[in-house]
Symmetry: C2
DNA sequence: AAGTGGTCTAGACCACTAG
DNA sequence: TAGTGGTCTAGACCACTTC
């Protein structure tokens, strides 16, 4: 049970509380969108002062694993609608405004992991994976091709139908159906040239420059959830990144 | 004087304290690398509890404007050596390790701002600017061309000689000589094709894909300091970005 | 009115740094 | 030993939400 006295330990109490909260969330004790116990209850349950609880919760709020709502409670982050979308979707138009992509799934198949995919997903080579190809359109024109690889073990029963029928972002599907909450991503960006099928899908001539984004999505404890390789046609859009300030 | 009682206000005390600290830092009252007054002194000076001071300092520490050193004090962030470099320099090798670039300045001239530069630097069109072109080499090969634009007004007396003679990063120069502390950057990334002089400088054929990074560096109150357009040859390196976790 | 998070206080004790 | 930040407590009062 998550709400039990803390065992003796060298680490600060607020770190222990923090760890317990992460446990509870990733074990599904409190699901996405649900409230965790009130600060007073947590303090009582863990046998620590309320200020200590607040410090632990503060750090999880800063990481966006929890959100506070005054007068209501503290909730496990729910990736509903555009909130999550824009947290991890960084393509913006010339004027800096973000545009909502329209997603079309053009391939969905089961496969075995090659060496690179296995390493990225921290699974064994030849383990089962699900591969998906999406074409994303911005303002009506195809601008992004996403190749997604998932460890099949983490997503039992995922079919093309349920995948395509989702009425929300992919990360929302991971969360609502499998309780997997994407908290962090690690991205590597390069410039490449369009060729073959990619060029055709993006409606650009072979040899056009594309932005390639190789992203690994991570959940609690930095466990990899998804490998995604995106190619973006950036003549009318760009990838937007802000460094430095993450807190108010 | 920064250490004076706070005036009546609606905003929380810790935000007022935070604003005063930012004032003191940007006014140069406490310079980069120097300690601010102890938490007890700040609490006494402002007439608030020490916990309130801690909350204000916490937020500035999270933004990396201050650093705490237990037993010694709280210091204004000093961008020494590789700390800053790697905070804002995101190019890494295939294995994910960051490599130290070798910088060569090939152009340094004074100019008037065009419309785009003026907008980026929040100055008037035709205001004086300094333009610099650097070639950065990674592992002995030219990989990046940087075109830098600075508002001349912010950098009085900056000459090619002092610029080239710096023995540290450019942001360190801004800080040590002009008291300008770069805290945040806003970057837009696109893929472009190499051509003309750029291709020659990077030793790639015209038509090779390059990663273009358009960066605006900001100091306190989001005041723009520098506009930098980088073109990166990404066949052996990539741009590395981590999203989500910014706090421990 | 009751319950929640948000702010703020006043103090205790610990761990680290320096003279 | 004195001074600094780091942790933790116990409580007060406020603002917001819900019934």
């Amino acid at each position: 049970m998550s709400l039990a006295r803390l065992p003796p330990s060298d680490s600060p109490l607020y770190e222990q509380v923090r760890a317990r909260l992460i446990e509870g969330i990733s074990a599904g004790e409190w699901k996405a969108g649900e409230a965790i116990p009130s600060e007073a209850d947590l303090a009582g349950g863990f046998g620590v002062a309320i200020g200590t609880i607040r410090k632990a919760v503060d750090s999880l709020v800063a990481e966006r694993a929890l959100v506070r709502r005054q007068g209501k409670g503290t909730f496990v982050t729910a990736h509903e609608g555009s909130r999550l979308l824009f947290h991890f979707f960084h393509i913006a138009g010339r004027d800096g405004r973000r545009v909502l992509p329209e997603v079309r799934t053009i391939a969905f198949r089961r496969d075995r992991a090659d060496r690179e995919t296995a390493q990225a997903l921290a699974i064994a080579p030849a383990d089962k994976v699900i591969r998906i190809r999406n074409v994303l359109s911005l303002e009506g024109r195809p601008r992004i091709v996403d190749d997604i690889a998932l460890a099949a073990e983490l997503f039992p029963g995922l079919t093309e139908k349920t995948f395509v029928a989702r009425n929300n972002t992919i990360y929302h599907l991971y969360q609502s159906r499998y309780g997997i909450n994407v908290l962090r991503t690690d991205e590597r960006l390069r410039a490449v040239l369009a060729e073959g099928e990619l060029a055709a899908l993006l409606e650009v001539p072979p040899g056009a420059p594309l932005l390639e984004i190789r992203r690994i999505a991570l959940t609690f404890r930095d466990r990899p959830v998804e490998l995604r390789v995106s190619r973006v046609e950036t003549s009318s859009h760009h990838y937007h990144n802000t460094l430095g300030k993450e807190l108010g």
